[in-house]
């Protein structure tokens, strides 16, 4: 019997890998059907052209680019929770780092895919590779997203090696054992291997933070480097990064709540995790509100006619539903729930996170569409946009693909890091005490 099988608590972390839960295949079937529906919609669009979508002149970006910005934003969950909390040696991070890192890898791929969906001729993507020019922010985007996806995948893989070795040892002979053997790289948990792993994880944690910041800054540059009204703003970079961290934490909280329920991770994902992340979410709510206020006040005070056309279109024009929906979902509801201790429960944080995800999606939408509908070129008529079933199907397919990725991942790897949790269980008291000793005034004094 191995250590993990003896430990009742940790056994739950690998149960879904060796025993298929009864709901698993029906869930895969439902999500798979939605992905197939999305794929069918894409084929329809591919053969009949973008005329089958709601995209038109002058609104050439709609749901796809909104989803692209939204998904790339969510990818910041992994960086924030995993890298920042790991570097700051925050103890409560241990059960949630993997969950956050998987979100990052999954949504980056899906976000990038939405760019391809927006191209009527996806083969023209190759032009970026053959004839790319770094004068274009689109190429900056391509480079930074590729870098972030590669770094995040490596960052997900490295801390997973000890857990893969546990699975390798438990797995009966067969192709699956070979799969784990290959990925475990001969891990036996020797001090030398631990040293290599810890050093590499630290390097990657330091590395992914600036890369993540650069990714969403560059996504913002795609808009702000143009002269379009309410896009050409110097705070768009940090505004997008703040929004990305905001939506990333919200998505993490929702995923944590779902996994806690379906995989019975109650002992690992405790109310205290939701409380701490809820507080973090409250801070980001206020940050986002501050940036939004600064952005809109500057545009309003400048009173530049083109800017004001877009401003009023959002304030009380055709896009007011999106703007006020965003304000309610991103500010009023989360602040009420998250600032009151009694409401900052698992249910409370999940409700606040859900409204934040809706609000952040609306935020991306009202950044993209109203500006294109009211372009600076006055010769163009005021545009309108409403998506067709093709865009709705592809959006549903994108979300289903994200959930499906998680389900498939859960069949092969533990969603909570066994190695990190075990390390915390065995050493966190000593680590915390040593850290306190380092900064306590009158070093070495321990109050009885």
């Amino acid at each position: 019997m191995t250590e993990i099988q003896k430990n009742e608590h940790d056994a739950v972390l690998i149960r879904s890998i060796f025993q298929t839960p009864s709901w698993y295949w029906p869930a895969v079937a439902v999500l798979g059907s939605l992905v197939v529906l999305g794929f069918g919609a894409y084929l329809f669009q591919f053969f009949l052209g973008l005329g089958e979508t709601g995209l038109n002149q002058p609104v050439t970006w709609g749901f796809y680019i909104t989803n692209f910005v939204f998904f790339i934003g969510i990818s910041h969950a992994g960086t924030l929770i995993s890298a920042i909390l790991r570097l700051s040696q925050t103890e409560w991070r241990r059960p949630i780092t993997r969950i956050a890192e998987v979100i990052t890898v999954a949504v980056l791929g899906i976000g990038g895919m939405n760019i391809l969906l927006d191209l009527g001729r996806p083969d023209r993507m190759l032009n970026m590779i053959y004839y790319g020019r770094y004068q274009s922010p689109l190429l900056w985007d391509m480079t930074s997203i590729t870098t972030y996806l590669t770094a995040s995948s490596v960052y997900l893989f490295i801390p997973m090696i000890p857990d893969i070795a546990i699975l390798r040892d438990l797995c009966p002979p067969g192709p699956r054992k070979v799969f784990y053997q290959v990925l475990a790289l001969g891990w036996q948990g020797t001090p030398r291997q631990e040293k290599v792993l810890n050093r590499a994880t630290a390097i990657m944690a330091i590395m992914v933070i600036p890369i993540a910041v650069s990714v969403h800054t560059v996504v913002a540059f795609v808009f702000s480097m143009t002269l379009q009204p309410m896009w050409h703003s110097s705070i768009f970079g940090p505004y997008f990064v703040a929004g990305a961290l905001f939506s990333g934490v919200a998505m993490l909280l929702i995923v944590m709540a779902i996994l806690r329920k379906v995989f019975h991770l109650e002992d690992y994902l405790q109310p205290i995790h939701f409380n701490y992340l809820g507080l973090l979410l409250l801070v980001f709510t206020l940050f986002w509100t501050y940036f939004t206020f600064a952005e809109y006040l500057t545009a309003f005070y400048g009173n530049e006619p083109d800017e004001m056309r877009v401003f009023w279109a959002k304030w009380d024009g055709p896009w007011a539903w999106g703007f006020w929906g965003m304000v309610i979902c991103n500010f009023f509801i989360p602040v009420i729930i998250l600032s009151i201790n009694r409401f900052r429960t698992i249910t409370g944080t999940v409700i606040a996170s859900s409204t934040i995800l809706i609000g952040m999606w609306l935020e991306r939408f009202i950044i993209v569409v109203p500006t294109l509908a009211n372009p600076r070129q006055h010769r163009l008529p005021t545009g309108s946009y409403w998506p067709t079933w093709v865009e709705f199907s592809l959006m549903t397919g994108s979300f289903a693909l994200f959930a499906l990725f998680y389900l498939v991942f859960s069949r092969f790897f533990p969603l909570v890091s066994i190695h990190e949790v075990r390390e915390g269980r065995e050493h966190s008291d000593d680590i915390a005490l040593e850290r306190i000793h380092r900064y306590r005034i009158g070093n070495g004094y321990i109050k009885e």
Partner: protein, 84 residues
Amino acid sequence: MNPPHNPGEPESPLVFRLQIALLSSFVLFASGVIIWVGRLLYVSWKLNDTFSASVFIALIAVPVFSLLIGVYNYVFWGIMRGGK
């Protein structure tokens, strides 16, 4: 420490070959990106087309991908040898 997998026995040649293939694929991909960025840099210099922007981005992308290759190799060989 985990119970050792096949104590004292090396991984099978098939596993080792697959591990090398995994490492090679990663190195190939990351090197490909570096070469691609280098090519864009060369073209922008040749055509006198926003060379400064290309240099700036290459100065970030090339070291990052080089570091990724280094870290991956360090983990790969460090863990493989560290178990013996």
